[in-house]
């Protein structure tokens, strides 16, 4: 039975309330009794009655003295008078005392008293008279006394009876009051008994509740004590009220030691103590709660030893009769935090290691390339000398090996370039068929050596022209075809291309390279696109390789948003399938490529800035061979100093050098205001990354030559940049320049050169206007080349016309290009007149 607490207390309250009037009545009655007792105590009745009876006594005394005084003796008379006076005073009292007033209402009494007064009035004159008169009247007095005796008696009797009755009445009243008092006391006792009964019942219920509460508390205590989380309860003042076993373990404090103590100094780290106190003060003031009720919070806590460690905690408040209490659940998360930290460190280390690897690859490839450049350059020079057949063969072999080595290094560089994310893909119009054809052509010889046939063809409708990155596409196909040829003996390599239309200008191009070679097992297929995977040992010995080829293919395909798959079985050959989403574009006039032959400029004054002695020597030799005068600087700073005083026509600037690198030197030359401030500077670098090349140009360089240097590339760059620049510098009249040339070269030589130039122009025009449709890039190239010559002979208008054609091609504005070609003959005719 669950009677709510309130109702039980209410009932007890009613019982107590019922007792209150009872107590009041008992008090009132008690007061009455006390008053009655006081009345009895201070009651005048005894004295009053005594006085009354005394009246008769005094009357009798007077009467007795009267009879003794009959002799008339003076002393007796004096005594008689005294007795009379005493009696007189008694009657006076009866008449005047307030206590006797009620008696007057009794007629008998009043009559008797009146009789006594009458007696006194009649006799007083006798008493007050002198002895003789009194003596004479004694007999008369005696008679009057005799007649008044009954009155005296009546007064005494009536009064006595009256007062006796009055006393009786008072006693009865008292008795009644006492009875009432007794009954109310009994009622009060009954009420008290009821109250006691209720209180007892309440007490029992309370005891039961307390037991229940204690059991609940014990259960709660067990829950808290066995909780895996630390539980700390504190009051508003920060005093600890509870501290469970887990908290003991976490903080190292014993509960008995900390109960009642301040929470802050015990578990809050010293540097957070001020914030903790401020927070507690803020909460006491009813302010914002920053931690309480905010769910899980991560904070620092302090161990008994003073060390701090991270904890995760949640705090809630509860209102109790003793005020607000705070319950905190805490968990030591040192291990989790440490683990997280370890993980972070491990990840950072892994990332750093990966970065290091990439940097290592880039650096090493660069460092390997530099001496390799020297080797190949010297080989090139060596090949140009007189050699016997054996020596020539050895030199060729060395060149082959060197080229292969260079290829491997380029692979590694490509790899790191993709991994670092520097790969920049172009989107040029290109002919898929011609790319595949050229690859097939290049591999045909090797295939023939292995007694393998190689062929390719379209599946479905051919779609030749697309936009993509030619280098990437070529790289993919060369690798796949090269591999197929490498691993196939006495078999067949078939390449198919299929264009699956996605929409009007996009198609999924599927390149399939199928061979009948040795094939791969499933395990190798799974790893074949990983880096440095080279198959079996036997295979290694057989064909060699870095194992990077397919890794780069995979990256290239991914960079082109494509997919690559392989299907193979041992001795059953392999099929690689690459699908690339490519944009279809209009056909661009295509011509068979012609050998590019640069025509050397000569007589330039060139500064080579290069720290590597061999490379410096190679470049030096190449330039001297072309008739240039060359000076050398070993580092950037030396170059800057020389450039300040010597009017060079061209500076070839290595990038990474001691003391001052090429970029800083270029900036210094450009900003130094020296004699070479505007001289063209060409970067020499083994670092082929496009983004860096752009940075070189920003530094003020005019072009970039990738190492290893080749004679052709060098000539091409000199023509392209130096001549253009030299012409731009020459602002004097064209004829003056030509006259100067005439002087320097001599009339005869000059005329020969003019003739050669005119022939070159005619050949160009004939080629441009022929029925062949030259490829735009080729047109630009040839125009550029002739423009260089035009610059030499100062036919500026014609040179500009050629350069505009080149610019139009580069901007892919083919309409403007064709327009330029159409106008070219007229411009030439005008220019020729001036020569």
């Amino acid at each position: 039975m669950a009677v709510p607490d309130e109702r039980r207390w209410l009932r007890a309250g009613y019982a107590a309330l019922a007792g209150i009037p009872l107590i009041g009545i008992v008090f009132f009655l008690g007061f009455s009794v006390v008053q009655d007792l006081e009345n009895l105590n201070s009651a005048h009745s005894d004295n009053v009655q005594w006085t009354l009876s005394q009246t008769e006594v005094e009357f009798l005394e007077f009467s007795k003295q009267l009879s003794l005084s009959t002799g008339g003796d003076a002393t007796d008379l004096q005594l008689l008078r005294r007795r009379f006076d005493v009696f007189y005073s008694r009657v006076n009292i009866l008449e005047s005392a307030t206590v006797y007033r009620p008696l007057v209402e009794n007629e008998i009494y009043a009559e008797a008293l009146t009789a006594l007064r009458a007696f006194l009035d009649e006799t007083v004159s006798l008493i007050d008279a002198d002895d003789d008169v009194l003596r004479a009247e004694l007999a008369t007095l005696e008679a009057k006394v005799a007649s008044s005796r009954s009155a005296a008696r009546t007064v005494a009797n009536v009064a006595l009876e009256f007062f006796a009755r009055q006393a009786d009445q008072r006693r009865r009243d008292l008795a009644q009051t006492l009875i009432k008092l007794a009954s109310f006391v009994a009622a009060l006792i009954a009420a008290l008994a009821i109250t006691v009964f209720y209180l007892r019942r309440l007490n029992l219920q309370r005891a039961a509740q307390q037991l229940e509460a204690e059991e609940a508390a014990a259960r709660m205590d067990t829950v808290i004590q066995t909780s895996l989380d630390g539980v700390i309860v504190a009051n508003e003042n920060g005093q600890i009220l509870a501290f469970n076993a887990a908290a003991e373990t976490i903080f190292g404090h014993q509960a008995d030691d900390v109960l009642g103590q301040q929470l802050g100094p015990l578990i809050v780290p010293d540097h957070l103590l001020d914030a903790h106190d401020a927070g507690m003060a803020r909460m006491r003031a009813g302010g914002e709660k920053r931690v309480v009720g905010k769910g899980r919070v991560q904070l620092e806590a302090k161990h008994k030893t003073g060390t701090t460690f991270p904890v995760e905690l949640a705090i809630q408040t509860a209102e109790t009769t003793e005020g607000t209490i705070f319950i905190a659940f805490l968990r030591d998360i040192s291990v989790a935090v440490a683990a997280e930290k370890d993980l972070t460190v491990a990840r950072d280390q892994a990332l750093a290691a990966d970065r290091l690897k990439t940097e290592f690859l880039a650096t090493m490839s660069h460092e390997i390339r530099t001496p390799l450049n020297g080797l190949l350059g010297n080989l090139s020079l060596l090949s140009d000398t007189r050699l016997n057949p054996n020596q020539l063969r050895y030199a060729r072999n060395m060149e082959t090996s060197g080229d292969l080595l260079l290829q491997h290094i380029s692979d590694v560089l490509d790899l790191s370039r993709y991994d670092v994310g520097h790969a920049e893909l172009r989107s040029d119009p290109l002919n898929v068929a011609s790319i595949v054809q050229s690859i097939v052509d290049s591999q045909a010889g090797l295939a023939a050596n292995n007694n393998t046939t190689i062929e390719w063809g379209w599946v479905g409708t051919p779609s030749n022209w697309v936009r993509s990155d030619q280098d990437a596409l070529q790289h993919i196909l060369i690798n796949l075809v090269g591999n197929a040829v490498k691993f196939t003996r006495d078999g067949k390599v078939v390449i198919t291309v299929e264009a699956k239309k996605i929409d009007s200008d996009r198609a999924n191009f599927v390149f399939r390279v199928q061979d009948t070679g040795q094939g791969m097992d499933a395990d190798l297929q799974g790893r074949i696109f990983d880096d440095f995977v080279t198959g079996t040992v036997a295979y290694d010995r057989d064909v060699g390789g870095t194992g990077l080829g397919l890794g780069i293919v995979r990256r290239s395909v991914a960079a082109l948003n494509g997919q690559i798959e392989v299907e193979s079985a041992p001795d059953m050959g392999s099929t690689f399938e690459v699908s690339l989403p490519l944009t279809i574009t209009d056909a661009v006039p295509e011509l068979p490529q012609t050998e590019h032959s640069a025509k050397p400029m000569f007589g330039l004054r060139i500064l080579i800035v290069e720290d590597n002695r061999i490379n410096r020597m190679v470049a030096h030799e190449m330039l001297v061979a072309d008739g240039h005068s060359v000076e050398e600087a070993h580092d950037g700073l030396a170059a800057v100093e020389m450039a300040a005083d010597i009017p060079f026509d061209l500076i070839l600037m290595d990038i990474s050098m001691p003391v001052m690198d090429g970029r800083a030197a270029t900036r210094a030359i450009r900003q130094g205001g020296g004699i070479c401030a505007d001289t063209p500077i060409i970067a020499l670098t083994a670092n082929a990354m496009a983004s860096e090349q752009a940075a070189f140009l920003e530094d003020g360089m005019n072009g970039v030559l990738i190492k290893p240097l080749s004679q052709n590339a060098l000539r091409w760059a000199i023509e392209d940049i130096a001549v253009k620049s030299i012409e731009a510098d020459v602002t004097e009249p064209e004829t003056a320049h030509r006259n100067e040339m005439r002087e320097i070269l001599g009339e005869e030589t000059y005329q020969v050169m003019i003739a050669r130039f005119c022939a070159e122009v005619d050949e160009l025009h004939a080629w441009l206007l022929s029925d062949l449709r030259p490829e735009p890039s080729e047109i630009a190239t040839r125009c550029h080349k002739v423009a260089g010559s035009a610059g030499t002979f100062s036919v500026d208008a014609y040179r500009k016309a050629l350069l505009s054609i080149e610019d139009a091609q580069k901007a892919e504005d083919f309409a403007a290009m064709n327009d330029g070609i159409a106008r070219l003959e007229q411009v030439w005719q005008d220019a020729r007149m001036a020569l």
Binding site: T51, Q54, S89, V99
Partner: protein
């Protein structure tokens, strides 16, 4: 001559120290209204101390107003306080047996004679009291001042027509 008298006075004072605070009792010159006998330190007639009205009125006067059960309305009493009288007689302990003209006698402990307590009244409402009007002396208490003075015992002690006192152990 005067210095000799002073010397005598000094000797007398040293010889009878009691006399130093209670003057020697004079002799009654008119009718004696109160005779005190028994254990008293000072007397004037034989072993008793006898007072005429003049001697009483010469003592420190006490006046007060009170109602009594024997009279009607507030009464103004004038007299000598019982403690003053006892002091005059060198009485500090024992019991006073007070008697009236009609030989009515009551026993009053000397300790009842306190300041603000019973008074031997000789004037009522400004006039001398005759025997017919409870005179000439009436031992009254200030009944209105305290409930303690409204008891049967006190009423009994309130003796009128008082003319004798005997101090006993």
């Amino acid at each position: 001559m005067t210095s000799f008298i002073k010397m005598l006075g000094l000797i007398a004072a040293l010889a009878f120290p009691v006399a130093s605070h209670a003057e020697m009792l004079a002799m009654p010159e008119t009718e004696v209204v109160l005779t005190v006998s028994g254990i008293i330190s000072h007397s004037n007639v034989d072993d008793t101390a006898q007072f005429d009205m003049q001697m009483l009125t010469d003592l420190d006067v006490t006046t007060f107003e009170t109602t009594t059960i024997w009279t009607d309305g507030v009464q103004a009493f004038e007299g000598v306080a019982l403690n003053v009288l006892m002091d005059k007689l060198g009485v500090t302990e024992g019991t006073i047996l007070a008697s009236a003209i009609n030989d009515y006698t009551v026993e009053i402990p000397v300790t009842d004679a306190v300041e603000g307590g019973p008074v031997v009244a000789y004037k009522l409402n400004g006039g001398i009291m005759s025997v017919r009007d409870k005179g000439p002396l009436w031992l009254v208490y200030p009944y209105d001042d305290s409930a303690d003075y409204r008891t049967e015992v006190v009423y009994a002690h309130s003796i009128w027509q008082l003319d004798r006192m005997e101090i006993v152990e």
